[in-house]
Symmetry: C2
Subunit: 428 residues, 2 copies
């Protein structure tokens, strides 16, 4: 009964191998559900001679992308190469040739998704990218489809497992370099960790979520991002004393018709829905006007969770092929403006090294006050009597980011200031 | 551009009114997404003269179900009457007339879903029931579709908000009767709360989840359920001292090809994914072989979250109608056997009132040991010297339920035993 749907796979790295392996093991059951068998008919690799998983038949390997993109028999292309090019070009060519595309490529979707969705729409094929955000967590489909009745006001997410692993380790008393080294040793961080620790990866993912949640064209370059490289273990302790945890939070919200989308280390109150997300796990908190708060939590990376998401997309496409539809893709229709990071507001946690002498706090308070920022609490944490240096921790009331930037400039130029050791936004 | 799809709504209670109100407010945006306008063309009510929400046009009201079920113009029926009959009959008639059906009715789906899905399949229409479990949490669709690549080994869920509210209050020091009264005052519990507190509602929902997750025909009567009516505040304190919280947990798992599905108060370790689910919120923890652990958390009841789920179903159907498909419904194909409750295993928390005299613990331990149950820890909590009664709390190692039932019978007949005050299963 199960007629085959031919699929070309671009890339046989850990995710590609995972997808092919699941199809080899569970193909019969999946075919029964779908009424069609998914047949991997060609796999693009760089090196056909390399040793691979037993489920990958050598005869299907090719180093020639055209063998897939130009094969009229192939109905669906699964792009798992990663990186911007040639992935973007291949996706565009596949869509233009009337093939459905499934991709896990956050960079391509974040940077070019808007145009690619329009190309898919013109050729009446689907471009699905569930695996591009949150690994095995079905966040894309939940936002696109299950929350159709909702106006979403905010998405807050921990969507980078590498940094969350490092921050969890720092909460346990490790310094950044030490925690990063452990993440690298365990395979959670790459040798060059910048893409993760500088929040580029999280910004790509937030760009995708923002585009879907607000039907807005918000490219990654419009998302302000602050990485975790400057965080000190000490701030985790001080934050904990005040009832907070430190997480790299990606936030998108609609405030008075304007989008705010940014990624930065954030102090979250301990009872916040994302505060208990530890290690490499990811979670997304969505505020919808009908559902109220919805949280999805799971593994945001790894071969198996990512394969699970790729296969959900692939099966959805095959089910539509069986039913005889090329489902129309709805692409963003409106695009609300985006608020510059400087114009956003937050409470701030500050840690300053200052001269241990009378009148210093007054000078700091004046500098903040001159920029319209008021202090909610202030604690002198430590002092080094010999060096005559004291450390003070300040929690502010809500302030504009640009005012804080201005105030910190003024504070830096005070003669009493030794160092601005930390400035971290606090979840409202 | 937006051609109308006519919908008949059965029932205009709080969910029905919610659905109609959302369509009135957001119909334009939804029509733009779907390429079709959802037009509520008839609403079945008991009393057409009653005062209702402004979005409900009096001219659409009818007390005659035939006016909807026999109207060939109506493509989709939304059943929001609740209760077994006449809801089941109406759903069957609508499906048999070639109409798609969306329902929030957990009782009908749990008891008759298997047959109704087959009827839907024969008439090539959809029967969707996202709102029947977990309110605004898209659990049905995630299990049916997003986890298609996964073999699910276990689902654990807090799926009754009323009982979770009561248990959360009891953890704060309230006794059951007091917590129930507050739930009733706040509208979270009904005047007759039995359906919730005796775990009938949770058993319906677990029956649906079990059927979908394991493609098994597990009716509610095969789910062993223990309610929360016998829980004492004291056990929450003792559990807390040992690092546990008490929750009404619905669990379905596949162990050696046999299904175990039951609902009962459970001691969860404080770091369990469901342990921080408080108040009326619901959460579902799914273990899939590819995704590992996935948690969905949100509001499990209420007009708005339930409407959100009903509308997600309705929009999915309308999108298919626009695309020209009556999507085939896949219904359970296999049915693994179900393990009797007595044959399942767990650790147990026991609280016993015993005579405060030497040798008592030895007698208890022997009674347990004779049934093959060993004690992991034992604490004497309190004693009333005047009455010469002591209270002991025992945590056992893993034991078979039938062995525990047998041992408790023996313990009850010991001359030293005053009362078996609590016997609660502990999450493994």
């Amino acid at each position: 009964m199960a007629r085959p749907v031919k699929v070309g796979v671009l890339g046989a790295g850990i995710v590609g191998s995972g997808v092919i392996s699941v199809l080899a093991r569970k193909g019969d059951r999946i075919a029964q559900t779908l009424g069609a068998r998914i047949e991997v008919s060609r796999i693009l690799v760089r090196d056909v001679t390399r040793q691979r998983d037993a489920s990958i038949h050598r005869g299907l390997l090719t180093t020639d992308a055209e063998a897939i993109l130009d094969d009229p028999e192939i109905a669906v292309v699964v792009e798992l190469l990663g990186g911007e090019e040639p992935a973007r070009t291949y996706i565009e060519r596949a869509l233009s040739a009337g093939k459905h595309v499934v991709t896990a490529n956050k960079e391509v979707i974040a940077k070019h998704g808007y145009e690619l969705l329009q190309i898919a729409d013109r050729h009446r094929v689907n471009l699905f990218f569930e695996a591009s955000v949150g690994g095995g967590i079905p966040i894309i489909r939940v936002v696109r489809r299950d929350l159709v009745a909702n106006d979403i006001s905010q998405i807050q997410a921990i969507i980078n497992g590498t940094t969350n692993f490092i921050l969890t380790a720092m909460a346990d008393g490790r310094e950044y370099a030490d925690a990063l080294a452990e993440a690298q040793r365990l395979g959670y961080a790459e040798a060059d960790p910048r893409n993760d620790v500088e929040a580029t990866d999280a910004a790509y993912k937030l760009s995708i979520l923002t585009t879907l949640a607000f039907r807005a064209d918000v490219r990654p370059e419009r998302i302000h991002r602050i990485g975790i490289t400057d965080l000190a273990e000490k701030d985790f302790r001080y934050a904990s004393e005040m009832g907070y945890v430190v997480r790299l939070v990606a936030t998108a919200r609609l405030v008075d018709g304007v989008i705010e989308a940014n990624v930065h280390p954030t102090l979250l109150p301990r009872d916040h829905h994302l505060a208990s997300v530890n290690g490499v796990f990811n979670a997304v908190l969505i505020d919808g006007d009908e559902v109220d708060k919805l949280v999805l939590y799971g593994r945001g990376a790894g071969a198996q969770p990512t394969s699970s998401a790729v296969l959900a997309d692939l099966c959805a496409i095959v089910a539509d092929i069986v039913a005889g539809v090329a489902q129309r893709v709805d692409f963003p229709a409106t695009s609300p403006p985006v608020r510059a990071f400087g114009e956003t507001t937050a409470r701030f946690y500050l840690r300053l090294s200052v001269a241990d002498e009378p009148g210093v706090l007054a000078q700091i308070a004046r500098a903040l006050g001159d920029s319209g920022i008021s202090i909610a609490s202030c604690i002198q944490k430590e002092s080094d009597e010999e060096a005559r240096v004291a450390e003070i921790v300040i929690m502010t009331h809500t302030a504009r980011q640009s005012a804080m930037t201005e105030a910190l400039q003024k504070i830096l130029h005070l003669s009493c200031t030794r160092q601005v050791s930390a400035s971290i936004r606090v979840d409202r």
